[in-house]
């Protein structure tokens, strides 16, 4: 039987605010346990939450970037359950009236076709603290530094039909939230994590199958593998005559499998109700306009600008703008020196990317920053060095962190552009190769490349190729 996979994602993006969603405590990562939790975060008696205006601004930014509707009067609700790292015994979230309503995002599916994924909603909520199980024997430690960290939970419709699509959507969302500067996207620190709702159905059916929810996937690789495993598992269950049960599952990366965490029967009744401590959250049109006016340039707009302003191909423009750091790096390279966009694009996408890939680095971690790259490219542009030499200079820059000019000078790599010097080398090569000259003059045109190679070798690669070509042929032709 042919099966179709149906996936919806819930993405938790930690909003990059300095302070928490309902208190003035810092959100900085990595502090000593419980040093960044104030009375409000600790849920002490009598304290009250106050909404951090910055989270509203960031949520509106998200809505504008995804063509989502913005709820004029949204509402915070309490999600009640007991857990030691949930200080109040409830999480303040949004239920019936989320701040962000329906929107959409376009991705490329596995076959490079565009596909629009509907965003159901995005709502604001506070994160819980952290239970530390492995630090003390027989006891669990509670660290409430993370309690009250602002999250935007972005819920998609079940429009994704494969693990590949799910990853494409998650990656695009990851790039977007960083693009619009609402989330640092750090997956190791948990700033961006996914829950996947996975079900399968007979191909062609329009009825959704029973889903399982896989919690807390904090890398794209885990997302893909967890979905793949889960789809296979569900197919096995159905083809074995069984039924998929609605449940929450956990992905175990070490064993590469998902495991049942709790069934529908064991599911909590969260007893949601509007939080009486927080009046409805009003977002006025004037506020939205203010956010819009200060919106960072969106990826799609930037792509078009790259095509128009820099005369790049659509494909190159998409590659360069898919991640904000790449586009910023590219434009910083152009800004540092008058580099032609074409040259900068080729080098960023080619030489820089391949070196980053080899070293497993992100662009932010690149040993060669945009200014340094521009310092190299300008030497290609002004014919000081050839592109080939430039690659070896970049290698050295990558290792030593020294600027291009210093390396070029130290190694004497400046291109020979002096026509007299090149002519002298040509003359010497011709004199040393009388037989090849004779063959060439007898009609074996291809031998010109032999002479180019010989002169280049004699110049240790420094002869300006343009000049060499110009001067060589007349001399060979006599």
């Amino acid at each position: 039987m042919a099966w179709e996979t149906v996936i919806g994602l819930e993405i938790h993006a930690q909003l990059s605010t300095k302070t928490k969603i309902f208190s003035g405590a810092s959100t900085a990562f990595g502090a000593e346990p419980n040093t960044q939790a104030c009375a409000v975060d600790l849920g002490l008696p009598g304290v009250l939450p106050v909404v951090n205006a910055e989270v509203v601004r960031l949520a509106v930014r998200f809505a504008l970037a995804t063509n989502s509707s913005i709820t004029e009067r949204s509402q915070f609700a309490r999600k009640n359950y007991f857990y030691p790292d949930l200080p109040k015994g409830y999480q303040i979230s949004q239920m019936a009236l989320p701040i962000v309503g329906p929107g959409e995002m376009t991705i490329f599916d596995g076959e490079d076709r565009q596909k629009t994924i509907r965003i159901t909603r995005a709502h604001l909520e506070e994160d819980a603290g952290k239970s530390v199980h492995d630090l003390f024997s027989d006891q669990t430690g509670i660290d409430l530094n993370r309690a009250g960290t602002p999250l935007l939970e972005i819920v998609s419709e079940p429009d994704l039909n494969s693990a590949v699509e799910a990853v494409a959507y998650a990656k695009k969302m990851h790039a977007l939230v960083r693009y619009i500067d609402i989330c640092d996207g750090n997956m190791q620190e948990g700033s961006f994590r996914c829950d996947a709702n996975v079900s399968i159905r007979e191909k062609g059916s329009d009825v959704l199958g029973t889903r399982s929810e896989i919690k807390n996937l904090n890398s794209f690789r885990f997302l893909e593998r967890a979905i793949d495993f889960e789809v296979e598992r569900q197919i096995d269950v159905l083809e074995g005559g069984g039924e998929v049960v609605q449940e929450t599952r956990l992905y175990d990366a070490d064993r590469d499998e998902t495991r049942s965490m709790r069934s529908k029967e064991e599911a909590f009744d969260y007893r949601y109700f509007p939080d009486p401590d927080l009046p409805p959250l009003l977002v006025e049109q004037s506020f939205i306009e203010q956010v819009r006016a200060n919106m960072p340039e969106l990826p799609t707009v930037r792509t078009q600008r790259f095509v128009t302003d820099y005369e790049l191909s659509e494909a190159d423009a998409v590659t360069l703008t898919s991640e904000r750091p790449t586009a910023d790096y590219f434009e910083a390279t152009l800004a540092a020196q008058h580099i032609t966009p074409r040259l900068a694009a080729t080098w960023v996408m080619g030489e820089v990317f391949s070196r980053l890939n080899n070293d497993g680095l992100s662009l932010e971690q690149s040993p060669v920053n945009a200014e340094a790259l521009a310092g190299l490219l300008i030497r290609i542009q002004d014919n000081t060095i050839s592109g080939k030499i430039a690659k070896s200079v970049l290698d050295t820059m990558w290792e030593s962190g020294e600027p291009a000019d210093k390396i070029i000078a130290a190694k004497g790599l400046q291109q020979i552009t002096d026509t007299g010097a090149i002519e002298a080398m040509i003359d010497e090569v011709i004199a040393n190769n009388p037989e090849q000259l004779a063959e060439y003059r007898a009609g074996k045109d291809k031998l010109i490349s032999y002479f180019i190679g010989a002169v280049m070798k004699a110049s240790k690669g420094k002869a300006n190729p343009g000049e060499l070509n110009k001067l060589l042929k007349p001399k060979l032709d006599g």
Partner: protein, 486 residues
């Protein structure tokens, strides 16, 4: 010294004229507390040392002719307000060891106004109760008659002021918890408009209903206190940023032309004849003072108690989840696992009435029942509120009894929660609609005080206090004090 027979306003004058010092005044009350409170059990914590140190600082300011409006005046706080460095129990075993690292806004403001805290008052556990029989720290006795309840939940605050252990006290009112004990103890007490006084640092019972307010012997003293308590607080998102008017400036305006509405529903079944008689007498007094009386109707009055007992427990069930034995408060001995820690800590830490309301609240919020109970109660709440708004088109103030009966005997209603809940019959509607309401003494029944309730529209506390003050200019019920307390 008989300075405890003076009102707060009179004491303020004596302090300014240096006829008495704050230290003398506070010491006088501390002596009375030591001598008398064993009869009433109105207080949980007395902090004489701290009080006298603060009084000394106030005296230094007063000596220099400085000091705030309430400088050097003593008060008692209900033990629901967090006080930095001083035990805050909320009347519960759950918090019998809890010392907050912060002051409630109400505490801070009154302190900034120069007031000196003498003690913290007993109360029904987590403010749940109408008789102060639900306190982990024992019953409070009504100073008017031994064996009689002082009302609740702010029973300790009311009993303390009635026994003249302080000139004023703070309380909180979620369904009548200031007005009902004020009525039972022969005091003036005001519950302001929802949002008028910050709830920050006031341990939450039902967040959408809770409001803090003062107890005093006179409306004028209530006005002075409310002046010190009211105002926007950026730490409470439900507090109002509407400007606070002067509550004392207009007190002397006459009642000429005032339109008073009397709801027929307040004089129906359940109202004790002696209470009805006292209230009717009060109506005559108002007529004499130039007010006109208009019969009105609040048709949904009968739905108040059911709506209240859905909304309040629902919010409470969630508000009280933080008392889990993990970070503060009572924790059971030797928990074997997390579930055991939760179950035993909460089973041991909470009393019966609190557990009853948590159960009711968790039930009404649970999946499948939410729409039938909680949502329905919110709709009813709207209807009740609309009734008042309609009435206020025609009248300035609504008048009626504060409670159906005067103070009852201890143990009378402890086995019948619903009978106990009916004590709130006339008071919960003001909480459900967020309106300011006040109780003032208007007579006696069998030697026990009877309370008159006045309600005005939102943020019309000034008018409420003026009407009460004017009534107190032509009557002397508010000047009566329990006997044998010298």
């Amino acid at each position: 010294m008989d300075i405890h027979t003076k009102t707060l306003a009179e004491q303020a004058e004596l302090l300014k004229q240096k006829k008495v010092s704050s230290v003398e005044l506070c010491q006088h009350y501390l002596d009375r507390i030591e001598r008398l409170d064993s009869k009433f059990n109105s207080l949980i914590t007395v902090d004489a040392e701290r009080a006298l140190a603060a009084a000394k600082l106030s005296d230094e300011k007063l000596a220099k002719g400085e000091g705030e409006a309430l400088e050097g005046l003593p008060l008692i706080h209900k033990d629901i307000f967090c006080t930095d460095g001083v035990l805050t129990t909320c009347g519960s075993r759950m918090l019998d060891n809890f010392i907050a690292p912060y002051d409630a806004t109400v505490v801070q403001r009154l302190q900034n106004q120069g007031m000196v805290m003498l003690a913290k008052a007993n109360m029904d556990e987590f403010a749940m109760g109408s008789s102060n029989e639900n306190s982990y720290f024992g019953n409070v006795v009504n100073p008017w008659k031994a064996g009689t309840v002082p009302g609740g939940s702010s029973g300790g605050s009311a009993a303390a002021v009635a026994a003249r252990l302080a000139p004023v006290a703070t309380g909180t009112d979620t369904g009548g918890s200031i007005r009902q004990p004020a009525a039972f103890c022969g005091l003036s007490g005001i519950k302001p408009t929802y949002g008028r006084v910050s709830r920050y640092g006031m341990i939450a019972f039902a967040s959408s209903l809770d409001q803090a307010g003062p107890f005093a012997t006179t409306a004028k003293d209530c006005a002075m206190m409310l002046q010190g308590m009211a105002g926007f607080d950026e730490r409470d998102s439900t507090s109002s940023d509407q400007a606070v008017p002067s509550y004392t400036d207009g007190l002397d305006q006459s009642l000429e032309g005032l339109k008073i509405g009397v709801p027929a529903e307040y004089f129906a079944d359940g109202l004790d004849a002696s209470v009805a008689q006292a209230v009717e007498q009060a109506i005559e007094e108002f007529k004499k003072a130039g007010a006109s009386i208009k019969p009105i109707s609040l048709p949904n009055q009968g739905l108040c108690i059911p709506a209240y007992y859905v909304v309040a427990p629902a919010e409470a069930s969630s508000n009280l989840s933080r008392f889990d034995g993990v970070r503060f408060g009572h924790r059971c001995d030797n928990p074997v696992d997390l579930e055991d820690l939760y179950k035993r800590s909460r089973a041991e830490g909470f009393g019966d009435e609190v557990k009853r309301r948590i159960l009711i609240g968790a039930y009404t919020l649970s999946a499948g029942f939410y729409d039938a109970y909680y949502l329905k109660a919110l709709q009813v709440r709207r209807l009740i509120s609309d009734d008042f708004q309609k009435a206020f088109n025609d009248v300035d103030v609504i008048l009626g009894p504060t409670t159906p009966t005067p103070a009852f005997a201890m143990g009378d209603k402890t086995d019948d929660p619903v009978a106990m809940y009916l004590n709130d019959l006339y008071t919960v509607s003001a909480n459900l609609s967020g309106l300011p309401a006040m109780s003032i003494p208007c007579g006696f029944a069998d030697g026990l005080p009877v309370g008159l309730q006045l309600v005005t529209n939102h943020f019309e506390e000034a008018r409420l206090l003026q009407v009460a003050h004017q009534y107190q200019q032509i009557t002397d019920w508010h000047t009566r004090a329990p006997e044998g307390l010298d």
